[in-house]
């Protein structure tokens, strides 16, 4: 029988070689695949819309704040042009915070249906002028929610703002009075007969404190003027429309109208206003009005706000020769939560509630447009029908009948961020302390008619401000908003991508998610809505976008000032991050040479930062209450390198552990081989073989396996062309060769006769299945220890698998890129770890087979002498339980060790997994031996 035949016949050698080759191939293959998958994922997701963020003064640290437009400026247009002139620059898109604008919303009102029916003296001429009005014969009969006899009502108005977690009542105000159906009264005068609408006899009406104008009857309604709503402020950012559109791609289409805005010298507000007035003088069709009059190639759908502000400013004297029309793209809808409620109760003379009429509510919603929506708080008395449409559509001209917005560059200070600590997975925790208090939730100082507003009817609510004050510029003439279109912040956010969501500026919101309440308890994650009692953290996208001429007009700049907050630069270099990295870094260096801060954000990734907000609201006594902890997306610099390095390290550790498993397996199988061949070797010695001949006889068999391993190693190394593969292959080969020499050494020696003369009486008496199992294990100590080690290795491998599963997300870090990368290598790594578990399992089978024959024999003897099946089962169980007891510390400590090596914070779980694996092995092995 030649060596090859002996090798094949010796199944244990064949099995060992096969397992080692499979382990080698699997580990190399999995390594290669997981590394390739990791590289691909990291590379594909590491380049966002731009590569370099340029700021005049950048913050320190690896985490970038999401707010890059902060109104502090610092970069001049000359520097912007310098960046654009660099050879490696593809796009350089500047962005600045322009102003905070206070919206002058129309006074809220409550309309109670009190329709008097058709009357030619009041409605005839109106319907004649309105082609889409209803013909007189088709007007319905009069109807009203009020009674002939006036009744006494109490009307309570309140405004509530909520961030989704906390609700705050901004004010609450009540007024009482009697209301009844109105009537038509004909009065004869010198000029003829006039028809007037008069209130019911005895009606007192309802009057809220000034500037609310009280209640008034019209042909269709009884209209009650309500207390003024809290002011709504919006921020405006400036971009270069052309560069920004190029940066955003398809998502930047909304900027196209802004590209057609006139140059600065053609934006005189008076001239623009007069141009539109002339359109009406010359005549304009209703269709043209609805689509929007053409202004230099752009149809201005929202022309009415400009016109109304122009007329108001002209009347109030605010319009000067310096007044500019500022082209704006406004946000479509708002997530600002502001609700206006009016509760209506019928009461008796003593003030006791007789009937609850109902509550009317309106909120700022998705159809609210900054600078456009005029009366978001027109409320309707319960049960009312709006008959005013009988007069026909008054057209868009009614939109925007409000005074010009108040533009201010009193930006509030940004919060102060303090590092709190770093979590196990690298997630950063911070504390955000708002700086200065400013009162922004206040009543307007003057009403629309210019009269002072009674500020005592409600207490202003302190609110955290969120921008630094910029002392640049002079007091400028009131600019007039000129709305060119709308934008959808969600579309901009989508264009930025989820993983590498880089800060695009104030119009790219960075939502905050509430994760812990003020008491520190974890709450169901919910995105906080912007509210009027804000946190001081910007979460609402800017209300409007303008260009840099608009910024100059708002701030009164004429010269080239350093007003650019940040420039987003995309390099010309194409391809993935890995390909473009050298060019991007060269470009960043060139920008730094210009005296600017250039942060390479390619290779970065979004990372959620936990922010504790200690001071959020104040009670009447001025005591501050914390909000809790919110999570907000910041940007982790060089996330690609960190993620790739960390996960590669984890994989290498895993490979190392697999090799240890292979070494143990080789050792166990070698012992098995030696035990099987011992008698054969003895026979050969008896035949006169020399020790050297026996050694050669053994080594020849191992050489067959070694040749197979070497061939597999060479093939794998050539296929993968990696040093790791060569190292793994050589390691396995060395292990195998070592085992061969040990086996040869063992077999060439004669066995030493056991000199122990007699039975040791100190041993425990065999009088039960447990003591029998104990005796068997102590008799075969080597097998017991080998099997216990094997089971321990199996438990440790299971612990390693669990540690790995827990560890991958930790090793990947807290960034969104880390999550993606972890997902991409999870499967290959788990396959590798499962292979480790399989090696551990095979190890238990190989070592378990050492005495299987003997075990079968003595179980047969016991059966023959009348031990019943249950007792035989007990023997098997106790044997395995005792082995398990020895294996437990090995498994648990091994799992803990692997856990500490792979994932320190998952070590405990790894230990528990090792414990459970060993415990589960006991009944399974009992069943298998049966």
């Amino acid at each position: 029988m030649n060596a090859l035949q002996r090798f094949v016949r010796s199944r244990v050698l064949l099995l060992t070689a096969a397992i080692l080759i499979v382990t080698m191939g699997l580990s190399v293959l999995v390594q290669g695949q997981s590394q390739a998958s990791l590289d691909r994922t990291v590379d594909e997701n590491s380049r966002g819309l731009y590569d370099i963020l340029v700021q005049a003064k950048a913050g320190s640290g690896a985490l970038l704040q999401p707010e890059i437009a902060n109104g502090t400026g610092g970069i001049s247009f000359d520097q912007l042009n310098g960046i654009r002139d660099l050879a490696g620059t593809s796009i350089a898109a500047p962005i600045s915070l322009v102003s905070r604008v206070t919206q002058n919303l129309e006074v809220p009102r409550l309309d109670a249906m009190d329709y008097l029916g058709y009357n030619p003296a009041l409605a005839g001429s109106a319907t004649a002028d309105q082609p889409d009005g209803v013909a007189p014969t088709d007007w319905p009969a009069a109807e009203s929610v009020l009674t002939e006899e006036p009744k006494k009502y109490r009307v309570t108005a309140s405004a509530v703002s909520s961030d989704g977690a906390n609700e705050q009542t901004m004010f609450k105000s009540s007024s009482e009075g009697t209301l009844g159906k109105s009537r038509l009264v004909e009065e004869k005068s010198n000029g003829g007969t006039s028809v007037q609408i008069e209130k019911a006899a005895g009606e007192t009406g309802i009057k809220f404190p000034s500037p609310a104008g009280g209640s008034e009857h019209t042909l269709f309604n009884l209209s009650i003027a309500l207390p003024m709503a809290p002011e709504v402020t919006e921020s405006v950012v400036a971009v270069d429309p052309v560069a920004e559109r190029a940066l955003l791609g398809d998502a930047g289409e909304f900027l196209a109208p802004l590209e057609k805005a006139p140059p600065a010298d053609a934006r005189n507000a008076g001239a623009v206003g007069r141009h539109f007035e002339s359109l009406f003088t010359q005549g304009i069709t209703t269709k043209e009005l609805e689509e929007g009059p053409d202004f230099l190639g752009v149809k201005l759908k929202y022309w009415a706000p400009l016109m109304s502000q122009y007329q108001q400013a002209k009347v109030s004297g605010e319009l000067t020769e310096d007044s500019q029309a500022i082209p704006l793209i406004v946000r479509s809808g708002t997530s600002l939560d502001l609700r206006y409620d009016v509760k209506i109760e019928e009461i008796d003379d003593a003030g006791k509630v007789v009937r609850d009429v109902g509550t009317a509510s309106r909120s700022l919603g998705s159809d609210y447009l900054p600078f456009v929506s005029k009366s978001p708080f027109a409320l309707s008395w319960p049960g009312s029908t709006d008959h005013s449409e009988l007069l026909g559509n008054a057209g868009n001209f009614n939109q925007g009948l409000y005074t010009p917005a108040t533009w201010s560059n009193d930006f509030a200070s940004a919060p102060q961020y303090t590092d709190m600590g770093t979590a196990a997975n690298g997630a950063v925790e911070k504390s955000a302390t708002p700086r200065d208090w400013v009162t922004v939730n206040r009543l307007p100082e003057k009403s629309q008619d210019g009269s002072p507003v009674d500020q005592t009817q409600r207490a202003p609510v302190d609110e955290r401000s969120y921008r630094d004050s910029v002392a640049e510029g002079d007091k400028v003439a009131a600019p007039l908003a000129m709305v060119y279109g709308t934008f959808d912040p969600a579309a901009v956010q989508a264009a930025a991508g989820d993983v590498n969501r880089l800060p695009l500026g104030g119009y790219d919101p960075t939502p905050m998610t509430m994760v812990k309440n003020a008491a520190g308890d974890t709450v169901e994650a919910s995105t906080l809505k912007p509210s009027l009692s804000a946190t001081g953290l910007a979460s609402q996208s800017a209300g409007a976008i303008t260009d840099y001429y608009g910024l100059a007009a708002a701030r009164g700049f004429e010269a080239n000032t350093e007003v650019i907050d940040a420039v987003r630069v995309r390099a010309k270099a194409e391809g993935s991050w890995k390909q473009a990295q050298p060019d991007v870094e060269t470009l960043a260096d060139e920008i730094r040479d210009m005296g600017l801060e250039a942060t390479v954000v390619a290779g970065s990734a979004r990372e959620d930062v936990s922010i504790f907000v200690p001071g959020y609201s104040k009670d009447a006594a001025g005591k501050e209450s914390p909000l809790g902890t919110v999570s907000q997306s910041w940007v982790r610099q060089d996330a690609a390198g960190a993620v790739s390095g960390s996960l590669t390290g984890t994989n290498t550790t895993l490979l190392f552990l697999t090799l240890i498993g292979a070494a143990l397996l080789t050792g166990a199988s070698t012992v098995s081989y030696v035990r099987k061949r011992r008698r054969e070797a003895g026979t050969l010695r008896a035949m006169g073989w020399t020790q050297g001949r026996i050694r050669t006889w053994v080594l020849e068999e191992f050489a067959i396996g070694a040749a197979g391993l070497a061939a597999a190693g060479v093939v794998l190394s050539l296929l993968s062309w990696s040093l790791t593969t060569v190292i793994v292959s050589v390691s396995v080969l060395v292990l195998y060769a070592g085992a061969a020499f040990i086996a040869a050494q063992q077999l060439r020696h004669r066995e030493v006769v056991d000199q122990e003369p007699q039975h040791d009486e100190r041993l425990i008496t065999v009088d039960s299945p447990l003591t029998f199992a104990n005796r068997q294990l102590s008799t075969n100590r080597f097998n017991t220890v080998a099997l216990a080690i094997a089971v321990g290795v199996f438990g440790a491998a299971v612990g390693g698998l669990i540690a790995l599963l827990i560890d991958i997300p930790r090793a990947a870090g807290a960034s969104a890129l880390g999550g993606l990368a972890a997902a991409s290598i999870a499967l290959p790594s788990i396959i590798l770890a499962v292979a480790g578990v399989a090696v551990g399992l095979i190890l238990t089978l190989v070592t378990g087979r050492f005495e299987l024959q003997a075990k079968r024999q003595y179980l047969g003897i016991l059966q023959a002498m009348g031990w019943n099946p249950d007792m035989l089962r007990q023997v098997r169980f106790f044997e395995n339980a005792l082995v398990g007891a020895f294996a437990l510390p090995i498994g648990v400590l091994g799992a803990l060790g692997i856990g500490l090596l792979l994932a320190p914070y998952a070590a405990l779980w790894a230990g528990i997994a090792g414990l459970i694996a060993v415990i589960i092995w006991i009944p399974v092995a009992t069943k298998v031996v049966q």
Partner: protein
């Protein structure tokens, strides 16, 4: 295929050693039942079924009635089915067909636990080579059948007596690997008798033993049957065949 023919001969039961018998009477008891073991129409086949191998019938329609105090020898060439008859008779394996009666009760009606309990009380089985359990002394090996009964300590002196009986009184602390083949065989016989068995089933007790050792074993078996214990022995040892009371020769 084997064809069975049985020739039964009565043998002289006068070779008992008086001293041995006297001591044996104190520790063994004869069966109360006249025929403690009966095999009826026994057929044993191997192979066939899922294995695909052609079935081999080693025993066909074998009948045997073993009386108390009778030493019956099953003789025949290797592979003739001697061991198969013994293992079936001891309830360790099931026959292909036919029935086994222990003291008149058919094994068909018993479950595994009941068979184990009855075997402990009735049958002492000694397999070929007298397999002992490693790591345990001769005395401990003899006491193993008492473990299920929880009578290890109670039977310790009896075990020592039995080892004395088989001539191993001075080797009781030795482990199996320190005993010769004949000594192991004798320990196995002592172990088979520890629970007061009524039927001793012994497989090839003298195989690979020298004549002197074989004669010792034969003497022990003969004495055992003289004490009223039925002995069923498989062997092709001429001396053993000669000394047995009845004989079945398998062809």
């Amino acid at each position: 295929m084997t064809q069975e023919s049985a020739r039964q001969r009565n043998r002289d039961r006068s070779q008992a050693d008086a001293g041995l018998q006297t001591r044996a009477n104190t520790i063994v008891k004869a069966s109360d039942h006249a025929t403690p073991l009966e095999l009826s129409s026994l057929t044993i086949r191997y192979g066939g079924g899922k294995s695909g191998a052609e079935p081999v019938s080693v025993v066909e329609n074998f009948d045997l009635t073993l009386h108390a105090g009778e030493m019956h020898c099953v003789a025949g060439r290797s592979g003739s089915g001697k061991t198969s008859i013994l293992t079936v008779g001891a309830g360790l394996t099931l026959p292909t067909s036919g029935r086994v009666f222990w003291e008149g009760d058919s094994l068909e009606s018993m479950d595994d636990d009941e068979i184990a309990d009855r075997r402990r009380a009735l049958i002492g089985y000694v397999d070929q080579g007298g397999a002992l359990i490693d790591g345990m002394s001769a005395l401990e090996n003899v006491l193993l059948p008492a473990v299920p009964e929880g009578e290890v300590e109670q039977r310790r002196s009896m075990a020592k007596d039995l080892l004395d009986l088989v001539g191993l009184g001075r080797r009781m602390r030795h482990r199996p690997e320190q005993l010769s083949g004949g000594e192991r065989q004798r320990v196995a016989i002592a172990r088979a008798l520890i629970l007061g068995t009524r039927v001793l089933v012994v497989d090839e007790p003298t195989a690979s033993l020298d004549r002197a050792s074989a004669n010792k074993i034969i003497g022990i078996l003969k004495d055992t049957s003289n004490d009223g214990i039925a002995v069923l022995v498989a062997s092709h040892d001429h001396e053993l065949v000669r000394q047995s009371d009845t004989l079945t020769e398998l062809i």
